[in-house]
Symmetry: C2
Subunit: 208 residues, 2 copies
């Protein structure tokens, strides 16, 4: 089984690394980091680069595709190399997945038309404008398309999909080895739960 | 404020990226990825490299230090370059922190002697043998030393420390922007909660 995590300039590091450490830890899985070109790919803040080890042209039959997001939708919806690759490999994947605004790339590639899907909470309107049907769930399954909410949700998506692929025991071993027993110091992880002034600040100052 | 995340061969990627996306998102913070040499540093599974942009020699006065862990303790306790750097920079840090078995490096450098601390649940005995006093908490503060449990706990540590440094509002903005509203599909993230056979498998098959 080959899991291909797509990288592109301005991706969010945790979007890629959450699924890498969960889904990518499945026994027997080969996880590859794939991009238009091999070599370092810079993240959204510019200070962290992850090395792509394969080009899109080299990865033609991945079983699972994971597309991370990033703060500026143009990096997903306007990325021709990424969208062309997604359209080319999707017909033979078992699962085509995304984290955060990675779903905007899937939608822009035409893969989520009419499908239930999710994205970062600040990008729901953009996802809808691309033809998907946004939901408020953290991890959304619609056929073989699995989309997760913002950034850290890729961990929940990765564990959920690990369970579907190899069973609950294997997924729980991965959860225990990554000690994923979350204890956030605040309860502000979704717009429904965060204080109103926190939500307002994000909408006014941080929405791209 | 400079936050220095140390990299070394065989580190666990999520240990570094969890704090990077939380603590490292503080307004005004410069986050640097530092290692013995600049360039790509391979993770524990060998397939993911993060690029170190500074050498230990170049980063002499970080305000915050973060040491990620990795599965084989020799990579922490036997890493002379890392330990020498930790001893050199610790006297002037505001916070010296670790995720997972990163605390074994802090302890081997002599920084946790007699202090309350934590590590990956499979490494508690090793931490104790290095002079620290292990606890079962997920994030442990003892003076300026902050240690977190395994792998994913670096997200909780990063948010907690973000709040200490710049207040609850800023930390909650980071939590909301990373949509950290965890919904694990299983409740197996600690040895107290996971099914006995899952714990037993990890102890017998996966302990280094």
């Amino acid at each position: 089984m080959q899991i291909a995590i797509a990288l592109y300039e301005n991706f969010t590091a945790l979007d890629a690394v959450g699924p890498y450490e969960t889904l990518g830890n499945l026994p027997g899985a080969e996880t590859v980091l794939v991009a238009e070109r091999t070599g370092p790919v810079r993240n959204d803040r510019g200070g962290l680069s992850v090395v792509a080890t394969r080009t899109f042209a080299e990865v033609t039959r991945p079983d699972v595709v994971v597309v991370p997001g990033g703060p500026d939708p143009v990096n997903q919806t306007g990325n021709k190399a990424l969208l062309d690759w997604l359209r080319a490999v999707d017909p033979t994947t078992t699962w085509t997945t995304s984290v955060c605004t990675g779903s905007l790339a899937l939608a822009a590639a035409g893969l989520l038309t009419g499908r239930r899907a999710t994205t970062h909470w600040l990008a729901m309107d953009t996802l809808e404008s691309l033809g998907a049907r946004p939901t408020g769930e953290r991890v959304v399954f619609d056929g073989k398309y699995v989309t997760a909410a913002g950034v850290s949700s890729g961990i929940d998506m990765g564990l959920t999909l690990a369970g579907r692929l190899q069973g609950d025991m294997v997924a729980q071993v991965i959860q225990l080895m990554t000690e994923y027993d979350p204890q956030p110091p605040y309860d502000a992880g979704s717009p429904d739960k965060a204080p109103a002034e926190v939500v307002a600040f994000c909408r006014s100052e941080l929405q791209t």
